[in-house]
Symmetry: C2
Subunit: 369 residues, 2 copies
């Protein structure tokens, strides 16, 4: 039911173009995954996401576990049916959220006890309980329960979190026996090259058709992130997709792809959209700015999205100014389309061994200021 | 450019089915107009409004005058282009909002001085300035500047406000000479039958292809509103659409249609949607209620909208619970579709002289509780 087809490797960089076959359809890689935290990509209809060319969505186990509860989603017939999305879905494990959103968390080797950020109620996540929750949700790809240690922690702590992640992975693999969902193990190791190598060597044995890199893009300097990707690269399996978690800026996406990454996700395009900011061919645009008051040109002349085809910057600025919901909606449409076009372009460039040029040309326009 | 074609009169009630021809297309009447206050029907893409069968939108002059400013809309090429809506638009005159939203208003025979509800800045609306603003906006139908006296005011005050409205209408008509937009005069007179008759007799002389009833549905008992519609009815011109302002509950819409009304508008369907409430064939549904936690059936089995075709009450409840934007969006889609279907059904029933049965059957289901 799951397989990865490697179509082409860019001969200058090693960037990969491929197809990830899943039960809910094929995903052309490299791909960006919009995030639908609570079983909705905020403000967007599924039909709109289809029109944008979205191939796979990510949804958050932590949030769905708390609301509406994974039992409800299971009884609804699974997440695809519940949220009316018939293409592939990936659920994270809740590990990251437990550490970033949950209060009063207590980590033991058995699992994590935490208080809900919504009502303070107490909950326990273990590798086994997380697998059960992800089974209820029924996504195509499910992530192993891991501990993402914070940037800046000691090497000693990073090692113990990594070791715990490895033990939890073993328990996840044992608990995941349904055979219809694909478990992605997660490489941890914080910003320590030797730990990263140790981790990739450990977790790749659990990878059947997909492996993930966690704990990056958490505040570290760009070069450190790139270095971590470089050190693990020789050890990554070739015959499956590699997923770089939580990455959504154009440079991180392209640098990841250049380092052999096939999948990534981030709330960034939709979050900054609701905040009135757009990513365009010529860099970031803060739509609220007074200079757009009478700018009747589209947000991005080179974009083919519904927002850019039909509305002016002056209109978008008006909506942002009035705090109209449609502002975040139209900018979300644009920003998602922008990142999907970015990876589409990367995919085509890779097939023509032209990824380096593609990246350089993109950077020249986007980061010119 | 404007004309009204009377297709059929229900022989039992006198309810009318017709077509209102405008520069941006034909409107089948009776019709409900969704409200796009700030040049956006909150949270809905224009493409979604098209799919719902929306034939005409209302937008608010007061809001657009303040933000972004009617000069911006004019320079954008008019409201149709600015908000990407190529079907008919009607703009109100701002009269109602000046009285309900503006602070520190001062009314003289010349016009109204008020402070913006946004930043407290001082502004003056006169019949001439309102016509200029509505010309800038460029809607198909523009409303005359009127004073809507509050429910419960003295007859003396109601009369003076009515007289002022009549004088302002005269000035609006003189100031409106562009020949491409249709000015609708407004009948006032508060809840006083003799004033209403006096008003309709006065303003109908200004009506070329459309006349409106203002100052109803402002807090008065239902029966008083119906009585006001009954008393003016014999004096209404037959050869043009009659617009009942600010009406959006199913009963008000149907009672209006029964009394010869062709057009109505209200923020109700979208406002209650954002509040988590739906209008359905079987009455109002407060989606947040716990009883829908595991209700995997659609909101309204008899509805053909995107929300009802694709989502369950359990999903909608989850979205409302999580304060997700998509909740208000999907419920807005449903509620607008619900009212558009209500008037579509009325139109068909009228053509078959079956409006009375249609209304009775609707009431039996909707108000059965």
């Amino acid at each position: 039911m799951f397989s990865y087809e490697l179509l082409h490797i860019d001969k200058h960089t090693g960037a990969r173009a491929g197809v990830f076959h899943t039960p809910h359809g094929d995903i052309e890689t490299p791909i960006f995954m919009p995030v639908g935290t609570a079983a909705t990509v905020k403000s967007l209809l599924p039909s709109t996401l289809h029109e944008l060319g979205t191939q796979i969505l990510l949804s958050n186990t932590y949030h769905l576990y708390l609301r509406p509860g994974s039992d409800i989603v299971r009884r609804a017939g699974g997440l695809h049916k519940f949220m009316n999305w018939n293409k592939p879905i990936l659920t994270d494990s809740g590990g990251f959220q437990v550490f970033s959103l949950g209060d009063l968390r207590k980590i033991t080797d058995d699992g994590v006890t935490f208080s809900s950020h919504i009502d303070g109620s107490k909950h326990v996540f273990t590798p086994e309980s997380v697998m059960a929750t992800e089974h209820d949700l029924g996504a195509d790809v499910i992530m192993a329960f891991d501990e993402c240690s914070t940037y800046g922690c000691s090497k000693e702590y990073a090692r113990s979190a990594m070791n715990r992640t490895h033990k939890w992975l073993d328990r996840c693999a044992k608990a995941h026996t349904n055979g219809v969902q694909m478990l992605f193990p997660i490489i941890q190791g914080n910003m320590f090259a030797d730990l990263r190598v140790e981790s990739v060597k450990y977790v790749r044995d659990y990878a059947q058709c997909g492996i993930a890199v966690g704990g990056l893009s958490v505040g570290e300097p760009d070069q450190i992130m790139y270095e971590m990707l470089d050190v693990i690269r020789p050890y990554l399996p070739d015959n499956m997709p590699r997923y770089l978690m939580g990455v959504g800026t154009p440079d991180y996406i392209l640098e990841g792809i250049e380092r052999g990454i096939d999948m990534c996700d981030c709330v960034l395009p939709t979050r900054i959209a609701r905040n009135g900011t757009a990513m365009t061919t010529h860099g970031k645009v803060v739509v609220r700015n007074g200079c757009y008051r009478e700018d009747f040109s589209p947000l991005d002349e080179e974009c083919d999205c519904y927002c850019c085809k039909n509305f002016s910057k002056a209109y978008l600025r008006h909506l942002v100014n009035c705090k109209e919901i449609l502002a975040g909606e139209l900018l979300s449409i644009h920003n998602i389309r922008f990142l999907l076009k970015l990876v589409e372009g990367a995919r085509e460039a890779i097939k023509q061994d032209a990824f380096t040029d593609y990246k350089r040309e993109f950077y020249a326009k986007y980061y010119k200021k």
